[in-house]
């Protein structure tokens, strides 16, 4: 009994990880843009572009890794276009995001119809799904091996990117510059940081990561493209980035929570008699709860900073007084 329960939990977590990966990649992209002071609402469109071009390139190149690479490059290019319009022409971020999301969602339908005469879904028997990779040594460890080994390259890439981004953001001068731009653009500029360059970098990187998340849907998890395949995951990613406080580790946990909650909803309704409507509400309840916790924490932080600041200024003014007296 214990063994089978253990297997069930492993199966649940594996399913949760697979469901979380596209959200995680897009949310990391969103988090880095947020850190650089650009609130990116076009994650959805960038993701969809990755799904679409990923599978088309995999078909043309007869290689799914090539497909993923093309998706990343295309996502980076779209990120650059986004940055160009925003930084050069000061187009409003919300309008720009709406334009890009609409353009991609209708554009993919348009191209599918023009070239393949179909808009619902498209696939070709020659397209290979990205293979699952067994990690040597780790795969032989009981439970942990089952949990950590046997995913495809995009899932491992999402983990590596999480760690890498965390290190870059918090332990390198370049990361400090990114955060400085996000905290206060004018101050960063005054310090001689090239604000535009940092924002270009963040948006290009973010675009590439969104597109990789999209490619996971079309060639990593399935081998098909369906109309509007990202299906709102880009918006989930915007939430996950905020809810993970734009910290890569936090974003990872937030995405995992969303993925596992989805996987749990699927399994609970199969194994219990709880009404499915209630169970499907579960991921949303968890998200709201988590957001409330984040909100409370932020408020506490702000209060703490204020108190420190007022103590400091009190001290300064007291020092000033005592100096004046002396």
């Amino acid at each position: 009994m214990d063994g089978s329960n253990g297997l069930l939990i492993v199966d649940l977590l594996r399913s949760g990880i697979r469901l979380a990966t596209p959200i995680l990649l897009a949310a990391l992209g969103g988090a880095i843009s947020n850190r650089a002071g650009v609130l990116d609402f076009a994650l959805e469109g960038k993701m969809l572009l990755g799904s679409f071009l990923g599978i088309l390139a995999a078909f043309w190149l007869h290689n799914s890794y090539g497909g993923a690479l093309v998706a990343v490059l295309a996502g980076g290019l779209l990120g650059w276009i986004f940055a160009f319009f925003y930084l050069k022409y000061k187009v409003d971020l919300v309008i720009l995001a709406i334009a890009i999301n609409l353009l991609i969602s209708e554009g993919t339908v348009f191209f599918l119809r023009t070239f393949y005469g179909n808009v619902g879904s498209w696939t070709d028997a020659s397209i290979q799904q990205l293979p699952d990779i067994q990690i040597p040594i780790v795969k032989n460890i009981p439970v942990i091996g089952q949990l950590l080994s046997g995913y495809n390259a995009i899932i491992y890439a999402s983990w590596i990117l999480t760690a890498l981004l965390y290190v870059v953001l918090f332990y390198t001068p370049f990361g400090r510059h990114i955060r400085a731009v996000g905290e206060n653009k004018e101050a960063a500029k005054a310090l001689g940081i090239n604000v535009a360059r940092i924002q270009y970098f963040a948006l290009i990187l973010g675009g590439g990561m969104c597109a990789l998340g999209g490619a996971f849907l079309s060639i990593g998890h399935l081998t098909m493209f369906t109309r509007n395949m990202s299906n709102g995951r880009g918006w989930m990613a915007v939430t996950a980035a905020l809810f993970g406080m734009n910290n890569p580790i936090g974003v990872f946990l937030a995405s995992l929570l969303i993925g596992v909650a989805d996987a749990l909803a699927v399994r609970l309704q199969m194994l219990t008699t709880i009404p499915p409507m209630l169970i499907q509400f579960l991921p949303n309840v968890l998200a709201i709860l988590a957001l409330v916790l984040v909100g409370l924490r932020n408020r506490a932080n702000v209060a703490l900073i204020r108190r420190k600041f007022s103590l400091k200024s009190q001290k300064i003014s007291e020092d000033g007084k005592s100096e004046a007296i002396s």
Binding site: I95, E106, V109, V119, S121, N228, N231, V266, M277
Partner: protein
């Protein structure tokens, strides 16, 4: 600087609107000249003064491998076989169904066919244009309709029951599943009858069900849901979930297990993996609406049809042998016997000797299935 910004913005928005327009309002497919020249009867007779005209408005674009594609097949059949002029208008979902319907109304059609359009939209437009005839090939879940609407209600339970018999006969693990787009009577009409069919031949079988919260366009979730059921021991899953259902078939293929298709003949999506499809012949109802209206037999109100009208059945009935040809030998060996069983129950059902649970109109047989 400012004017350039506006120019760019304008360009952007024009471009997206242009693409949006190309995506949804497709130029109507009017096979007039081409169809006529291939039809010798049409060349003999002088061109009729005013042809019978119809438009089919789709709730979503084509390519669902399901009831939308089936309806298009019916409309194309009507265009090829009847002296009519037809057009197909694809909408992009609920948001532009009304404008798609309005454009169909403005085209001077003798009948506008509205497939699975949001009921309020359709009823309001039918009241607004009392002289325009409307036809609904499938799924209009309302209590009453105005006199200018003729709606087919296809009751699928008997076909789904036959699908359940097949699943119950072929499962090795005595566990089967179903993945449904949402928890509604219309979709449960498939599930309860399927479950009844499974239990009829395998009383100690387990039948899992998962609902996708009306997410019909999410194959990723469909696949994970199916993988969950397979991990719990199911070896055959019946999918009733539109494009999300394609994920179910993909999961079956990946695991080397089996699926049952729905609405259209889906046996060829994954040969040897999809055992059979429970067919809902929206093509027939679409064709009949055009033909009957043309012949002056427009019948207002609801028209309930089921297996006895030939609109519900299995893909095997229309000659699909994909699984028989490409399935594993140990399973295909059982097919003749199973097909005999299916025919036995079909006869019993048609002679009213056996009652299948209908979730739309629940009776006592449904009680043990909930």
């Amino acid at each position: 600087m400012r004017s350039r910004l506006f120019q760019l913005l304008g360009l952007f928005s024009v471009l997206s609107v242009l693409l949006a327009a190309c995506g949804s309002a497709v130029p109507p497919v009017v096979p007039t000249a081409a169809a006529d020249s291939t039809n010798p009867a049409a060349t003999d007779a002088p061109a009729p003064v005013a042809k019978f005209k119809f438009s089919l408005v789709l709730p979503n674009p084509r390519g669902d491998h399901s009831f939308i594609d089936a309806s298009v097949v019916g409309a194309e059949k009507a265009m090829n076989e009847l002296p009519v002029e037809g057009s197909i208008i694809e909408s992009q979902g609920i948001a532009d169904q009304e404008s798609a319907l309005r454009s169909a109304i403005s085209m001077d059609n003798d009948i506008v066919l509205a497939l699975a359009i949001e009921p309020d939209t359709l009823i309001n437009l039918a009241n607004e244009y009392p002289n325009q005839k409307f036809g609904v090939p499938s799924e209009l879940f309302v209590e009453t309709t105005p006199d200018n609407v003729s709606a087919f209600q296809i009751n699928v339970h008997q076909g789904a029951f036959l699908g359940g018999l097949v699943a119950g006969s072929l499962t090795k693990t005595k566990t089967v599943g179903a993945v449904l787009g949402g928890d509604s009577n219309g979709l449960n009409q498939f599930f309860y009858a399927y479950k009844q069919g499974v239990l009829q031949v395998c009383p100690d079988c387990k039948v899992f069900v998962s609902y996708l919260n009306f997410d019909f366009g999410n194959p990723t979730l469909g696949k994970e849901t199916a993988l969950g059921q397979y991990a719990q021991g199911a070896d055959i899953i019946f999918q009733v979930a539109g494009r999300s259902g394609e994920g179910v078939i993909s999961a079956a293929k990946e695991k080397g297990l089996y699926a049952i298709g729905v609405d259209s003949n889906q046996d060829d999506i994954a040969p040897g993996t999809v055992i059979v499809s429970v067919m809902k012949r929206v093509d027939i109802t679409t064709y009949l609406l055009v033909k009957n209206t043309m012949d002056g037999n427009f019948k207002p109100g609801f028209n309930n049809v089921d297996m006895k009208d030939g609109v519900v059945g299995l893909s095997w009935d229309v000659g699909s042998t994909t699984f028989a040809d490409q399935g594993p030998a140990e399973m295909t060996a059982k097919l003749p016997e199973i097909q005999k069983l299916v025919e036995e129950y079909r006869t019993k059902i048609l002679n009213n000797e056996f009652e299948v649970c209908d979730a739309m109109n629940q009776t006592a047989v449904c009680d043990p299935l909930k």
